[in-house]
Amino acid sequence: MTMNPRQGPGTRARIGSMSMCFLVVVGLVGCSTDDARPAGEAGDSGGPAATVTVRLLAHDSWAASDGIFDPLLEQGIDVEVITGGDAGSLANSIVLDRENPQADVVYGVDNTFVGRALENDAFAVREYDLTNVVPELLAEVDTERIVPIDYGDVCVNFDEAWFAEREISPPTSIDDLIDSTYSGLTVVQDANLSSPGLAFLLATTERNPTGWEQWWSAFVSNDALVVPDWTTAWAEFSAGGDDGARPIVVSYASSPPVDVLYSDPPRDTTRIGVVDDGCFRQIEYAGVLRNARHDDAAADVVQFLLSERFQTDIPLNMFVWPSNRLVPEPDLFARFALHPSDPIVLTSAAIEERRDRVLEAWTDIVLS
């Protein structure tokens, strides 16, 4: 059976023309969306004719109540939220697209990565009213470029029931984790890929400036499990609601209140304990990006993030503490969260100075 090469050019012609039509349509839609955008923005808001849209780039943990930005609408500012990875990815994207940023404001780059963005001059210089910000959070911060919006602590968590059942005392310091009592019990995140993973690594370098590499060798020998991210670590955690078997995990000081808040069926207790040692303070910043489209409105958005309205919304949506000292801590946090007695607080400059070097050494010790 031979094929007739003359047969069926119609197939191709038809498919070809269909494809062309489709691409043209896609192209037109694309162009028209670009053109129509400013008009649409003004029309959609229902506010004054001069409404501008400020694009807010936030981390994946972004969560806020419906209509949280309504007060800004009255000032003619509509906020479009874009989420783009964790603190590390955010810092990378604002460094990479600095010349032509995809957003006007960034929120959620923390002290572990903001140094990279500052070094690469990713922020515009603006003036902010910092009257109500907790003063400690402003120490050694370049407040012309970035302002602290919230903070939280990365701490070692443990499964209280697991230790109680076995009559083993839970760890009380991070140095306990290399003790043979806790062999094979801990799960941590890859410091290259995960924010809490990096925070925990930095905590160990601060606690043990000259011996942290040996500490990690001992930790790995003590059968510590390294997983890519918080989600996987939590699944390995015996109190993580999955089939996890390890009773010690790197997580947050606010994990217990969240566990209670999202309990189902609802309960008023938690089996998650937090080790009050080696907690690493993450401070999350916001700032207007260099080359932002509407930089005055963008600065207004940053200022709004510091307002009582937004700050009150933060804790129970994103499980961190507000930077505005007038905003009280929610009852749930007061009851269930750990308030570390001696958190490790590092400036972004101090972190910037060591991060890349420490990560490289860590990878050699732990992943090779």
Binding site: G10, M18, F22, D34, N92, D97, W234, V258
Partner: protein, 527 residues
């Protein structure tokens, strides 16, 4: 009968083929190669002048070699195991039997399971390590073998093998001499896709691999995060080169052309087919069994709480699970349209023996070989200016889905196209049918099962895609997969339950899409 190397029934004219090639190359060039090039330039020429120190540094390091070795080893085992489990099932689904729709549906649903869900499911069944990695890859990719080979097999004329048997050939001999050669094209295609998927795997490796098990892609992720785009770039190029070499090698085998007449229908040897499909179905069922157990039982007691969780767990991220599912369907619809247009263009472009066809053929596979992490950053710096400010639109996501789906669609349909009997088309021409008539009345109806099946499969890819799009910034409402990621990022029972329920609902949608496709093709055959 065996017309290896001859042209398919529908040879296109040069103009059409040129246009089709242009569409395909433009699609891959703009969506994949350009952003890749931009990130490579960032890596190798950060200040304008080219610096290649990273190449020898990366290629010379012991760590890179062990990463490359592990990448190849796990991909090899994954591919082998997938074929072993998938081929008997592909035979089974090539004819109607009780449970056929279930096997097609469950494997496609497994294929589209978000990586993190698949990884966590296997982790709760097996210890971390190579075995868990291979099992998860089999569960993902067995669908590729079952669907691609199964579709080709169902279009195969059983009479030559039967004739051989009548003439005294043993069963094994008839299979080896008659059936296998005619399946070579589709098996090669499925092997290629499976290998590439495993080779470039990231999510599975990091979730179920052990501390020291790293693939090229997971290494690229680590380096990119530290903005070491020179070293990441070297690895991305190594990965791409391997992918191109493998694709080129597979191409020869893939192009085995056999013309077939329509297969006989009717339920046959049901039990044996059921048994053959069992391993594939079992592997694919694992993630869902884990999910079902957790969704149906809360605190060890049966519970319907998960159903409620679908619409009342609100993380205040812009959508409840059920709305996110709706958003996924919208995205998938757009992705399928783009995929089918580009996929059909690619098929037209690669029909002939010219060098252009060869280039296009390899170009189509490239999206599977390019590091998703690299592309994510590439999009950020490439599509930042009008008229291609793709980065700032929600439909960059379905476009990225289409880039992943096109190679599958091409391999889904092409074996069918090659087996369209030229004599039927010829007869239509003799009877006076013009080109358009031959297409609509002869070729398309014959190809319809493959086209519909491919579209359904593309929808499944889009509904479950997690890797490439998790690297893109998200605007607007979250899709199901991105919401699952967010739900799993919180402590507490409710988000976990909602994530599990949503993953199951997503699987259900995929099974329904496939069942609908299946029904559509069957109605057509019956007509």
């Amino acid at each position: 009968m065996n017309a290896t190397g001859s042209r398919p029934a529908t040879g296109a004219g040069p103009v059409v083929r040129g246009a089709a090639s242009a569409i395909t190359v433009a699609f891959v060039g703009v969506l994949v190669l350009w952003p890749l090039a931009a990130i490579l330039r960032r890596g190798f020429a950060p200040a304008g002048s080219i610096e290649l120190a990273a190449i020898s540094e990366v290629l010379g390091s012991a760590r890179s070699r062990s990463v490359l070795w592990f990448t190849v080893v796990q991909a090899g085992w994954s591919t082998l195991a997938t074929l072993l489990v998938g081929l008997p099932a592909a035979w089974a689904v090539s004819r109607p039997f009780r449970g056929r729709a279930f096997v097609l549906g469950i494997t496609a649903a497994a294929f589209a399971t978000p990586t993190v869900v698949m990884g966590l499911a296997w982790r709760s069944v097996l210890d971390r390590g190579l075995l868990a990695v291979v099992c998860a890859h089999v569960a993902f990719n067995v669908a590729v073998v079952v669907h691609v080979v199964g579709t080709a097999w169902s279009g195969m004329d059983p009479r030559p093998a039967e004739a051989a048997r009548t003439l005294g050939a043993s069963k094994a001999r008839a299979w080896y001499d008659i059936t296998l050669p005619r399946l070579r094209g589709s098996i090669a295609a499925a092997t290629l896709l499976t290998f590439l998927f495993s080779f470039t795997s990231y999510g599975v490796i990091v979730v179920v691999g052990s501390n020291r098990q790293s693939t090229i892609e997971s290494e690229i992720a680590r380096l990119s995060r530290n903005l070491q785009f020179d070293r990441a770039g070297v690895l991305a190029l190594v990965q791409l080169v391997v992918v191109i070499i493998v694709a080129t090698t597979a191409r020869r085998a893939e192009r085995t052309v056999v013309s077939e007449t329509a297969a006989s229908a009717g339920r046959v040897r049901s039990l044996r087919r059921t048994l053959s499909a069992l391993p594939a179905a079992l592997v694919a069922v694992v993630p869902f069994a884990v999910l079902v157990r957790r969704v149906m039982f809360v605190d060890g007691r049966p519970s319907a709480r998960a159903l409620a969780a679908l619409h009342d767990v609100d993380l205040r991220v812009g959508a409840t699970p059920i709305r996110a599912l709706g958003q996924s369907v919208v995205v998938a619809a757009v992705a399928v349209c783009v995929t089918m247009v580009v996929g059909l263009a690619a098929i037209a472009a690669t029909a002939g023996p010219s060098w252009i066809a060869r280039v296009v053929d390899v170009a189509v596979i490239v999206p599977l070989g390019v590091s998703a992490v690299t592309l994510g950053y590439g999009y950020l710096i490439t599509f930042d200016e009008a008229p291609l400010r793709l980065r700032d639109h929600w439909w960059i996501v379905p476009l990225a889905h289409a880039a992943v789906a096109v190679p599958f669609v091409v391999r889904y349909i092409r074996p069918g196209l090659r087996s369209v009997d030229a004599s039927v088309v010829e007869a239509a021409a003799t009877l006076g049918a013009d080109a358009r008539r031959r297409l609509t009345s002869v070729v398309l109806p014959l190809l319809r099962p493959a086209i519909v099946g491919a579209a359904a499969f593309a929808a499944a890819i889009s509904l479950g895609e997690f890797g490439a799009t998790s690297m893109l910034a998200r605007r607007g409402e979250p899709t199901a997969t991105s919401l699952i990621g967010q739900l799993l990022g919180r402590p507490g029972d409710a988000p976990r339950l909602a994530a599990d329920a949503l993953a199951l609902a997503l699987a259900l949608v995929i099974v329904l899409v496939l069942a609908a496709g299946n029904r559509l093709t069957r109605t057509q055959v019956a007509r």
